[in-house]
Symmetry: D2
Subunit: 258 residues, 4 copies
Amino acid sequence: MANSRYEYVRKFESDDTLLPGCWLVVRLDGKAFSKFSQDHAFSKPVDLRGINLMNSCAEAVMREFGDIVLSYGHSDEFSFVFAKDAQVFKRRAQKICTTISSLFAAHYVFQWYKYFPDMEMRYPPSFDARAVLYPADNILRDYLSWRQVDCHINNLYNTAFWTLVHRGGCTPDEASKELDGTLSDYKNELLFTRFNINYNDLPAVFRKGSILVKKVVEETIERTPGVFVQKRKRGFVVLYEDLIRDPFWADHPEILGE
Amino acid sequence: MANSRYEYVRKFESDDTLLPGCWLVVRLDGKAFSKFSQDHAFSKPVDLRGINLMNSCAEAVMREFGDIVLSYGHSDEFSFVFAKDAQVFKRRAQKICTTISSLFAAHYVFQWYKYFPDMEMRYPPSFDARAVLYPADNILRDYLSWRQVDCHINNLYNTAFWTLVHRGGCTPDEASKELDGTLSDYKNELLFTRFNINYNDLPAVFRKGSILVKKVVEETIERTPGVFVQKRKRGFVVLYEDLIRDPFWADHPEILGE
Amino acid sequence: MANSRYEYVRKFESDDTLLPGCWLVVRLDGKAFSKFSQDHAFSKPVDLRGINLMNSCAEAVMREFGDIVLSYGHSDEFSFVFAKDAQVFKRRAQKICTTISSLFAAHYVFQWYKYFPDMEMRYPPSFDARAVLYPADNILRDYLSWRQVDCHINNLYNTAFWTLVHRGGCTPDEASKELDGTLSDYKNELLFTRFNINYNDLPAVFRKGSILVKKVVEETIERTPGVFVQKRKRGFVVLYEDLIRDPFWADHPEILGE
Amino acid sequence: MANSRYEYVRKFESDDTLLPGCWLVVRLDGKAFSKFSQDHAFSKPVDLRGINLMNSCAEAVMREFGDIVLSYGHSDEFSFVFAKDAQVFKRRAQKICTTISSLFAAHYVFQWYKYFPDMEMRYPPSFDARAVLYPADNILRDYLSWRQVDCHINNLYNTAFWTLVHRGGCTPDEASKELDGTLSDYKNELLFTRFNINYNDLPAVFRKGSILVKKVVEETIERTPGVFVQKRKRGFVVLYEDLIRDPFWADHPEILGE
Ligand SMILES: Nc1nc2c(ncn2[C@H]2C[C@H](O)[C@@H](COP(=O)(O)OP(=O)(O)OP(=O)(O)O)O2)c(=O)[nH]1
Ligand SMILES: Nc1nc2c(ncn2[C@H]2C[C@H](O)[C@@H](COP(=O)(O)OP(=O)(O)OP(=O)(O)O)O2)c(=O)[nH]1
Ligand SMILES: Nc1nc2c(ncn2[C@H]2C[C@H](O)[C@@H](COP(=O)(O)OP(=O)(O)OP(=O)(O)O)O2)c(=O)[nH]1
Ligand SMILES: Nc1nc2c(ncn2[C@H]2C[C@H](O)[C@@H](COP(=O)(O)OP(=O)(O)OP(=O)(O)O)O2)c(=O)[nH]1
Ligand SMILES: O=P(O)(O)OP(=O)(O)OP(=O)(O)O
Ligand SMILES: O=P(O)(O)OP(=O)(O)OP(=O)(O)O
Ligand SMILES: O=P(O)(O)OP(=O)(O)OP(=O)(O)O
Ligand SMILES: O=P(O)(O)OP(=O)(O)OP(=O)(O)O
Ligand SMILES: [Mg+2]
Ligand SMILES: [Mg+2]
Ligand SMILES: [Mg+2]
Ligand SMILES: [Mg+2]
Ligand SMILES: [Mg+2]
Ligand SMILES: [Mg+2]
Ligand SMILES: [Mg+2]
Ligand SMILES: [Mg+2]
Ligand SMILES: [Mg+2]
Ligand SMILES: [Mg+2]
Ligand SMILES: [Mg+2]
Ligand SMILES: [Mg+2]
């Protein structure tokens, strides 16, 4: 039987090819993670298990999509940066975004118990994803800076908030009244003077978020018993660094390439 | 610290709002399921466990998105039909597609062992998804007919193919040589005369695919011991019917509505 | 010399094919016609010469694009309705809109002196144009109603305004103070009681705008001297009618077709 | 009367905002100019009157749109290059393209008799226009090179063709047989050996097309009788130069800016 009589309906599919020659960023973000993190008793302000799970899902995405040059994540979000000339799925926006969001979500469930061995997953999460184009290197850097500033602002606020609640005896309401509308300096000061916390001494993973890049790494392998050899291999590394200022980019010139 | 210096990068996000007043279909399809089904030893031609898992994921999507009026799936694909006036995510294409594809994939992993208790999931699957608009009822019906014809063509072919291999002693190469370029009649005839299989007697779930709709169903509940009451409740039903011809639509007038 | 080295730049052109199966409306509107009409001393509130020129340009567009089923215009705007299945320029939005806007503008200049024989054109006008899709007949009718209501509102206001200025001795400031925020009834009443003008007796072309349709018209032709024959021919007719209510559509069933 | 009942139809208009941060090129091209040029007896291979008219229309577009940094035209086409950060019409594609195409077409008719004083315009022309984004300077240069190579290829062919017809006694058929599939060298050689024409000595306006840029030009003005002053003023200049190689861009660094 020929399928041709109905095949005309394919004409209603639209072309969403993305402009070539631009950095292509796919940013995904967990749906309703305020609730999901609460329903699964995530530590506050940040749950390191959750972060490590997110990073592991991101690495799986990078293994699948070879032309991702850098990923950056914090909280319930991750941004994947594709090379300017990436031809992934012929740059079809929906195809790229849906494959990534579903692969990420599937890994989130698949790897859950590795990171949360004692916590039953009550229901599976979902993630939205969007493709955004950035035509120039400096704009791409501004994009990543935007996300890292967001990480900083939220983390400082959440740290101050939960410190007030957990250690300062505040109710959540009181804590938010204390903090709302205040500047960073105020929160830093408050953490330091009232709780003797130097915010900058907190783990960088919380303050900076996670940067995943591909790197040639040296590994020492025991080839035969007692015989150790150095092997170079492409792997993924996670960095918890400032990517807003120039040093990061000077240290990793291969990311932006030529 | 103000985030405003970098916030201009949001201007690079584009608007992909879908035209109102049209049926909105999201079709998702498993990535590389030829390999996935093989790596997980799916029965051939069709694995009922796989179908039931797909249907269960689709039902989860329908529970999350209240304005899906019908879903249709077979093989590694599912189509979700949103009401013409659905305002889901303000009709933003990527937001809709990525949330659905990730929710579906997450459920696929989450529910895997319920349907494949004896088969370890070796790696998680992913799904692409696309949004397509159909401006009129008859075109929507043609779309669904297109998918059901596809189900029929593939299932008849696969049934004949694997019967030749499993019961006819053919190698896969011989089977495909035998079948390629032949019409439906030929395959029906072959199944009947050589293997005494009446194709139309095979389970409808294989031949027709799965149609999920919401229905008000009557349930008998034992309210207190010995006291049984009828309760009406909205639930999901799976139908394995012909949706190409008119009777299906006459039987379910609420799907297309006014 | 081969052009191939540079030809890759074509890849940056994007596809803007419009969804099939929908009414396709192209609405154009004069740029800065407040100034243009003033610089060319258009009569107030409406200049019939300007309207007739607009209508003649629209007819030229309809002659060029055979699948326009109806056009509607008033003031400095015109809407062209293409049949649902129109394949004009393969439904490429920019191609359609730019060809129409340029053809319309070129005719506006070309035919200017036919309608404004005594008024030098000081500079040429320009027009924007946009393509909009309407998936159903009733929505298309609502679109056209929207434009005709706009015509009515503006014309009633402008009529009242200029009557107050020209015959009521008001300054423009006084006239707008008198009218702003008032309802239709008030303006009708004002025209009637103070100036003895029954708004509904004003020419329909002002109150209703211009509807252009293709019609088979009978013409009496003198074939040879003294011998008159009836000939049927497709031509364009301009109607100044209410298209909001049903009778118009009952009288012209061929416009919406099946 | 409120217009609100119908105003919902505006929701069907779609957003076609163009990505920021990219060179925005609008290329327009005459519709059916093979016929238009024939119907108006354009000289062959090129009519200088036609070119000058095109250039004058392009200048009018540049006067209207202040952020065009360069325009390039030949034959029946013109490309307008907007600055990367141009905010013209908020970068709405259709609005930009339709306004430009209509303004260009209107000027074409408006200025016709200035350039073709002896030739009646038989009907007005129309132009399509499209917006294309180029994310980097080198790609923009490749775009312009693509158009200038096109100018060169066509002009060399047409020059050889019409020389064969006008001076070589060929019929058009014979001329095209002679030329089809030949390389540039062959045509150069043919012009030189058979007709003593050194192609490179032909006017640059034919060989290179027309580049319009804004320049600060010095003018000598007679302020009061006998008193001459130098005045600097921004004006438009037309250049007939090679823009493929670097010298042009070195000479005009302000075009690409920083
Ligand atoms: N306690 C805790 N909460 C977290 C952690 N990571 C993320 N969250 C929560 C904090 C925020 O409420 C939420 C992320 O913010 P979003 O703006 O993405 O909101 P949400 O996902 O609820 O809504 P959305 O669907 O994205 O609009 O997830 C964590 O490690 N620990
Ligand atoms: N044995 C077996 N195979 C199945 C079953 N359901 C789906 N498959 C396989 C048959 C097809 O090879 C494949 C679905 O066809 P597709 O055209 O979607 O191909 P595939 O997913 O490999 O590639 P894609 O990434 O979608 O382009 O999945 C099943 O129940 N049993
Ligand atoms: N006196 C007079 N004015 C007219 C006539 N037809 C149109 N106009 C004027 C009245 C309005 O000010 C203007 C049309 O309104 P629009 O909203 O299109 O404004 P305009 O074209 O100035 O700006 P735009 O570039 O479209 O945003 O044209 C006419 O026949 N007589
Ligand atoms: N004789 C003569 N012909 C010219 C001149 N400038 C342009 N033309 C003609 C030569 C080409 O046939 C035509 C331009 O080529 P196009 O590829 O744009 O074709 P055309 O406009 O006919 O079709 P289109 O509607 O653009 O697809 O215009 C001129 O100065 N003299
Ligand atoms: O999700 P938010 O609240 O951070 O803000 P947004 O991502 O811009 O909103 P949306 O997800 O609706 O695009
Ligand atoms: O995936 P296929 O092979 O059924 O065909 P398609 O879905 O039209 O192709 P694509 O997934 O690339 O859109
Ligand atoms: O032009 P207006 O003021 O009638 O309103 P609009 O057409 O919606 O605005 P725009 O021309 O900018 O799309
Ligand atoms: O118009 P042509 O033939 O030069 O080629 P094109 O411009 O790519 O074709 P279209 O005008 O249809 O986009
Ligand atoms: Mg969001
Ligand atoms: Mg979230
Ligand atoms: Mg978030
Ligand atoms: Mg596919
Ligand atoms: Mg598949
Ligand atoms: Mg499939
Ligand atoms: Mg407007
Ligand atoms: Mg206007
Ligand atoms: Mg107007
Ligand atoms: Mg063309
Ligand atoms: Mg042309
Ligand atoms: Mg051309």
